[in-house]
């Protein structure tokens, strides 16, 4: 269940061996997070078991982990438990590992983060190993539901086949007047064997491998008091193979991804907008996604309304031979969320979702429209 290649697994261990003998007392810290989330669809346009063997009415809550809320109450789609250990070997060098166990993956523990970090002065941090790919504003914290408004992140934006990557990144923080900024540049690759994301499309019993190579990208975050803005640009090559059909890897196809977001948190009012474009002309076409959120905090309670759209544009001639009428994907999600902070480290959320499909025939017949209710208990420790 761990897709680190042997060289990258060995790197943090090698650093550990090199520095363990230098006589300095290493400081160990651990922390964790938990989400227990139950979900059920209330109604929907597809009934019974669909083509990919999911009991409908059904609603995709987490594309990346094939988390789907179906017609019966269960904890599978969005529940997770994460444990993180950090060893501070010296003032400059630390090692971090994070294991996550998810309901969507039968609670199998999975080593999702393991990296070494070198602090290069006050404003620069170099990290090497396995980390989360920072595609979107909440990507890196996507498993720590306590840190964001929803039971599940808006799937219209947060739904891609790569979640992590093996590689290197450099964080540079800076001040510009009253603004504080962070530039994160990253490079690496990712191979996901038996990718859960692809089971949403190819069936829960299918097996598909995906590969993103030559990943290179950067994100810039700017903060000032109640405002935070972010831009992200990334490109890579993508490949896939349907193992269960004995396919070979597809030809490498370049993709370019662009994200922009803004967050205002002013006097207990919250407004956020996130926009995402992709250019995947060498595969099928382009994608557009956005999420808009407004919220209000009041006496330990918080109320949020969110609307999101995902729209695919399939080119007439495309290597994957997809067609607009059958395969084009387009859907909207409107959500209402109530959050209550049980303590400073725990929250209970209730989320009502309305999924409206506007895509091609396959998606309409397989998932269609749905209304779903989710309840979660989030905790960090």
């Amino acid at each position: 269940m761990n897709w680190l290649n042997p060289k990258q697994q060995a790197l943090p261990l090698l650093a550990c061996v090199l520095f363990a003998g230098n006589g300095q007392a290493a400081e160990f810290n651990w922390s964790g997070f938990l989400t227990l989330a139950a979900g059920k669809t209330l109604s929907g346009s597809v009934q019974g078991q669909n083509e990919v063997r999911i009991n409908c009415p059904c609603m995709i809550s987490d594309f990346s982990q094939s988390g789907v809320i179906d017609s019966s109450w269960d904890f599978a789609a969005d529940s997770k438990l994460g444990l993180q250990g950090n060893i501070q070997l010296s003032e400059q060098l630390s090692l971090t590992a994070q294991v996550v166990s998810r309901g969507a993956r039968d609670w199998d523990p999975n080593l999702e983060w393991v990296y070494a970090g070198w602090q290069l002065g006050d404003n620069d941090l170099l990290q090497v190993g396995r980390k989360r790919l920072p595609l979107f504003y909440y990507s890196e914290q996507q498993d720590v539901s306590f840190t964001y408004p929803w039971v599940h992140l808006p799937p219209q934006t947060y739904g891609w086949e790569a979640v992590n990557y093996n590689g290197i990144n450099w964080n540079h923080s800076f001040q510009a007047g009253d603004w504080s900024g962070l530039v994160n540049t990253f490079a690496g690759s990712e191979t996901r064997k038996d990718n859960d994301y692809m089971k949403i499309y190819n069936g829960i019993d299918s097996e598909t491998d995906t590969r993103w190579r030559k990943i290179i990208g950067a994100e810039v975050l700017m903060n000032r008091d109640w405002f935070e803005g972010r831009l992200m640009l990334m490109k890579s090559e993508t490949q896939s193979r349907l193992v269960s059909d004995n396919e070979d890897w597809s030809a490498p196809a370049e993709q370019m991804l662009f994200g922009a977001s803004g967050l205002i948190d002013y006097q207990d009012w919250i407004f956020s907008a996130e926009l995402f474009f992709s250019d995947r002309t060498e595969s099928y076409g382009r994608d557009l996604a956005y999420t808009l959120t407004t919220g209000k905090r009041l006496d330990g309670w918080a109320w949020y309304l969110t609307h999101g759209l995902y729209q695919q544009k399939i080119n007439a001639m495309n290597p994957l031979e997809l067609t607009t009428e059958a395969d084009q994907e387009k859907h909207r999600l409107s959500s209402a969320v109530v959050r209550f902070d049980v303590s400073s480290a725990a929250a209970v959320k209730v989320q009502l979702d309305h999924w409206k499909d506007g895509g091609g025939q396959w998606f309409k017949q397989t998932y269609g429209d749905a209304n779903a209710l989710s309840i979660s208990y989030d905790r960090v420790f």
Binding site: Q141, F146, D341
Partner: protein, 135 residues
């Protein structure tokens, strides 16, 4: 009856109006506005205006002084602060200020290190430290 009503009211008032003092080493000539103090305590700024390193220290989560500091300086609740630092801790982007148990210990640490910035109940301040601001 009047006495019974006034005692809890007086206690309530004392907790509401307790002031927090942000303190540094006496040799530290920095002048920081509340926004600059918040930037240091949120890990977004790593230095004082003169370029020297800033090492923020906090007090125990849930203590009255920390609650006051969070509300008045950071403009956030305890839950919001926890969520903020959880985001950074679990994404490898930062760690929260180390927690000091008492005002006396905080004052001692601040008085010994020109890089340290701390906060205490204003009533605890001694001449071993310099008060940057009170809230």
């Amino acid at each position: 009856m009047k006495k019974i009503l006034w005692v809890p009211l007086a206690l309530f008032s004392a907790s509401v109006f307790a002031e927090v003092a942000v303190v540094v080493h006496p040799s530290n000539a920095a002048a920081l506005n509340p926004e600059a103090i918040a930037q240091i305590y949120l890990g977004r700024s790593k230095s004082f205006p003169d370029g020297k390193a800033a090492l923020p220290l906090g007090q125990a989560e849930g203590s009255k002084t920390t609650e006051q500091f969070n509300q008045k300086v950071l403009n956030k609740s305890g839950s919001q602060i926890k969520a903020y630092w959880s985001k950074l801790v679990f994404t490898g982007k930062g760690t929260p200020p180390k927690e000091i148990s008492t005002d006396a210990e905080m004052l001692e640490l601040v008085s010994q290190n020109p890089s340290v910035i701390g906060y205490v109940d204003k009533a605890s301040v001694t001449d071993k430290v310099k008060v940057l601001a009170t809230f």
